[in-house]
Structure formats: structure tokens, C-alpha cells
């Protein structure tokens, strides 16, 4: 096999395309990192050179190759209090706005998708218990969903490695977990606070019972979807939200590559997306 090389112009061309499609902009200093992964994919796909590969990438109807690249170029791991600034935004800004605009005393509904092994929905529960005084007046429902039944089982069990809880303050670890079998077992109270469900975000029938949410956390998922699925997911979120409800995406994700259905809103802690409401 001839050795594949990526020229400066190839890199620039790829960088612009990736930025336009995914919204991630590589600095020139990332050249080595990007080149290495491109060469890996060129070899894996049997393309004869960069040009050949780039044409395939650009015109592939399924977008599968672009998703492979996104996987290679990003790190996806989950742990307690990941992207904590968004939980701060939830308790300091978002919930205040929601409760001010609520016309009834119906519970506040939060949807966390994908649940993965449960770190995110449980982090939300801990954050609410620790940092949101509104809990004295408002009921909250937390629903968390995933497409993978095995991972949902693991989320329900609530057993975590030391790595998974490494960013939790020691006091909280002590308060909500018990050391167990080389890891940590989350408390029964927390386990019983989250409703875990199995759903396929792309299945309209599945989604019909997901309505009247006030906040949706969907972090580091849509970036791995193709254009059409991302758009469809945004539409699903729009329909699942109450007017004025919020969507929180992961820090390397942006609605700017997905949909214009939502307004961009700035809070001191984070930038989030809002479904337009009656008075907005």
C-alpha cells in the first residue's frame, strides 16, 4: 500500500468541511491529530488518496463515514457532574424562569437523554437536592431514556467505578453513595427518583408519549447523528417541550448545525436553546 499523505491544502479543505458540517474547528496546531485520523480512515475505507476519500465522505448519502470521523475526533465519556456548568445553569437560572412562567402547580419535568449508565440523570437529582431551594415548593419529575436496554439496566442498578465519581465532591460521595464491590453504590433514594425508559428517538410512535417537558438534557448525542436524524431529533424535542422550555446540548455541540426551531439564550452559566413561548 502506498503511503498516504495529507497535504496542507487537503487539511484546509477538510477542516473547512468538518467545521461547516459538525461545527468543530481545528486549529493548525491540531494538524497532526487530524492527519493521523484521516489517514487511518483512508486506509480503512480503501480509498486511494485524500481526494478519493474526501469525495466519498462528501457525497455519501448515509453520512456514516462522517459519523465515524466524528467518533474518532471527539472524546465521549460520561461521569458524574460532567459539564457541571449546565447543572449550575439549571438551578441558578433555568428553573427560576420556568417557575415564574408556570401557570399551574404541575410538576417540573426534566428529560435526560441518553441516560447512558445513569451518571447524568443522577447528577441532576443530586444538583436539585443540594442546590435548588425551589424543591420546597415544586415537584420535579426526572425521566431518563436510552435506546440500549442493557445500559438502562445498569443505570437502574446504579453501581459506579471510582473513575465515574472522581469529580464528585467527597461530601456528596459520602452522602449519596456506599462503597461496594470495588466501586460505589448509589443510594436507594436516588435510584427511586429517576424513571428510566427505553426509547428510540427516531421512532415517532415511541415519542408520542414524551410531552410536556420543561427541560431536556441531550448532551453529546446529536453530534454522532447524520443531518437528517439530527433535524428529526430537534423536531422531537420541540414537540416534547412546553412553550418556553429549554434544551441543553453538550459543549462541543451547537444548534447552529441542526435546526432553527429554537432561540439561543444566554444565561450567566451557559448558552442554552429555548422553544419560543407565548410571551417570548
Amino acid at each position: 500500500m502506498a503511503k498516504i499523505t495529507i497535504s496542507e491544502e487537503d487539511f484546509q479543505k477538510f477542516r473547512e468541511y468538518f467545521y461547516r458540517k459538525v461545527g468543530i474547528q481545528f486549529e493548525n496546531s491540531k494538524r497532526y491529530f487530524v492527519d493521523k485520523r484521516l489517514v487511518e480512515r483512508i486506509n480503512a475505507t480503501g480509498a486511494k488518496d485524500f481526494r478519493d476519500y474526501f469525495t466519498m465522505l462528501r457525497f455519501e448519502a448515509s453520512g456514516a463515514e462522517l459519523q465515524k470521523l466524528v467518533n474518532l475526533m471527539t472524546v465521549n465519556e460520561t461521569y458524574f457532574f460532567r459539564e457541571e456548568y449546565q447543572f449550575q445553569c439549571l438551578v441558578n437560572s433555568i428553573l427560576g424562569e420556568i417557575t415564574r412562567n408556570k401557570k399551574d402547580k404541575a410538576p417540573i419535568r426534566i428529560w435526560s437523554i441518553p441516560s447512558s449508565s445513569g451518571e447524568e440523570p443522577y447528577s441532576i437529582v443530586i444538583y436539585l437536592l443540594e442546590h435548588w431551594p425551589g424543591l420546597a415548593q415544586w415537584d420535579v419529575e426526572i425521566i431518563s431514556s436510552d435506546i440500549d436496554t442493557n445500559i438502562i439496566e445498569s443505570a437502574r442498578r446504579g453501581h459506579y467505578s471510582a473513575r465515574s465519581v472522581q469529580y464528585l465532591p467527597a461530601t456528596l460521595l459520602k452522602k449519596y453513595f456506599k462503597p461496594n464491590a470495588g466501586g460505589y453504590q448509589i443510594s436507594e433514594d436516588l435510584r427511586s427518583a429517576v424513571e428510566f425508559t427505553c426509547v428510540n428517538l427516531m421512532d415517532a410512535a415511541d415519542m408520542r408519549s414524551y410531552r410536556k417537558f420543561d427541560v431536556i438534557f441531550c448532551r453529546n448525542l446529536l453530534i454522532y447523528f447524520d443531518d437528517l436524524s439530527r433535524r428529526q431529533a430537534a423536531e422531537t424535542f420541540f414537540d416534547a417541550l412546553n412553550p418556553g422550555g429549554f434544551v441543553c446540548l453538550g459543549h462541543s455541540e451547537s444548534m447552529s448545525r441542526i435546526s432553527s426551531l429554537f432561540r439561543v439564550r444566554k444565561f450567566p452559566e451557559a448558552i442554552v436553546y429555548q422553544k419560543p413561548g407565548v410571551n417570548l
Binding site: E9, L129, A193
Partner: protein, 207 residues
């Protein structure tokens, strides 16, 4: 503890879409005051082949973004002649937001748009020609490079050419080099064109 667990199925008691979902019923709902009802009607009309014209008519006067979004999604699903013709009409709209949305929708319809592409690229309105080049961006069609080369060889409007060069830098092959050189000769006093052509030539590379 006020964090309460609720089974998901208990939350939504009734389907919001209560009215009959036949063609006449949905068309009537497209005119309701409630944008949520209009949005659902637009989505459910995807099941009816004959609905493109009525959707286009609504699209032109719809001012709720979420309803327009649903109409455009349905039109791209239908993708029939009436849908495509209606989308082309909207490219001439005064409303910049609608034009951009329509361009995005047309990008989803490569098969259906390809047969009318030559006509769009020869349109009397230079803005429509620019939008046609914008649509080419995601058109998976063997003619794309030839169309772009044709634009930069012949189109008299500098901004139509400018839009085409931008795309050629990404999708072009050495076959387009002569057309690019010619473009520079046609607009020798336009620094932007010279810059864009040089960049495209560099990106395309030699054979």
C-alpha cells in the same frame, strides 16, 4: 422527597391530534390560529400525495417558524413536481429567511432538483442563480462540477461566479482549472475573484 417518579405513559392522557386526520380535515387545520395545530397538520399531510400545492400556498404566508419548518419537512418527503415547482417560486420571495429555508429543503431533494438545475442556473434573476449554486453544494450528481464550470465561464454576474468558485474549491478537480483561469481573466479588476480563483486552484491541485 418532592422528586417524584412518574411512569411515562401516565403523563400524556390524550393524543393532541383529536380531529379527523383526512385530507380535508388537515387542510382546514392548516388555517387554524393555533400554531401547534398547524404544525401537526403540516406533518400529518405527509401521508397525502395531493397536498403539495396547499402546503406551498400556506408556506408563503406562514409566519410561525416551527410551522414553516414542518411544512418544508413534509414537502421534502413528498418531493413531487408540485412541491419542487412551489419551492422554486419561494426562491423569489422577498423574505430572506424563507429563501434560506427553501434552499435547505431543496438540498434534500437532489434527484428531483437535478432535472431543473440547468433552468435555474440560467434564470434571469441573478439571486435565483446564486441560490441554485447554493443548492448544488449538497447535490450528489455527476454533473455538479460541469455545472459550476459552466457558471464561471459564462455567467455575467460577479456574485454568481463568486458563489460557484467557493464550491469549486471544495468539489472541483483539475478539469476545472481552465474555467477558473478564464474567470480571472473575465474579472481582472475584482480582488475577490482573483483571491477566490487562486485559492480554488491551490485546493484543487495539479493532476
Amino acid at each position: 422527597m418532592p422528586i417524584i417518579k412518574q411512569h411515562i405513559a401516565q403523563v400524556v392522557d390524550t393524543d393532541e391530534r383529536e380531529r379527523p386526520r383526512d385530507l380535508a380535515g388537515l387542510v382546514a387545520e392548516l388555517e387554524l390560529d393555533n400554531p401547534t395545530a398547524r404544525r401537526w397538520a403540516a406533518r400529518d399531510l405527509a401521508e397525502f400525495q395531493a397536498s403539495s400545492e396547499v402546503l406551498i400556498a400556506r408556506l408563503k404566508r406562514e409566519d410561525d417558524g416551527s410551522v414553516r419548518d414542518a411544512i418544508l419537512t413534509t414537502l421534502t418527503r413528498l418531493g413531487d413536481t408540485a412541491a419542487v415547482a412551489g419551492l422554486v417560486e419561494c426562491l423569489r420571495s422577498e423574505d430572506a429567511a424563507l429563501r434560506s429555508e427553501v434552499i435547505e429543503a431543496m438540498k434534500q431533494l437532489p434527484e428531483e432538483v437535478a432535472p431543473i438545475m440547468s433552468g435555474l442556473l440560467a434564470d434571469a434573476d441573478s439571486d435565483v442563480r446564486i441560490f441554485a449554486v447554493n443548492i448544488l453544494e449538497s447535490l450528489r450528481h455527476p454533473q455538479v462540477e460541469a455545472w459550476l464550470a459552466g457558471v464561471i465561464e459564462h455567467d455575467p454576474h460577479v456574485n454568481v461566479c463568486a458563489t460557484a468558485v467557493d464550491l469549486l474549491g471544495e468539489v472541483g478537480t483539475p478539469l476545472s482549472r481552465p474555467a477558473l483561469e478564464l474567470l480571472k481573466a473575465r474579472f481582472p479588476d475584482e480582488p475577490y475573484i482573483c483571491f477566490a480563483v487562486d485559492l480554488a486552484l491551490k485546493r484543487i491541485g495539479e493532476d
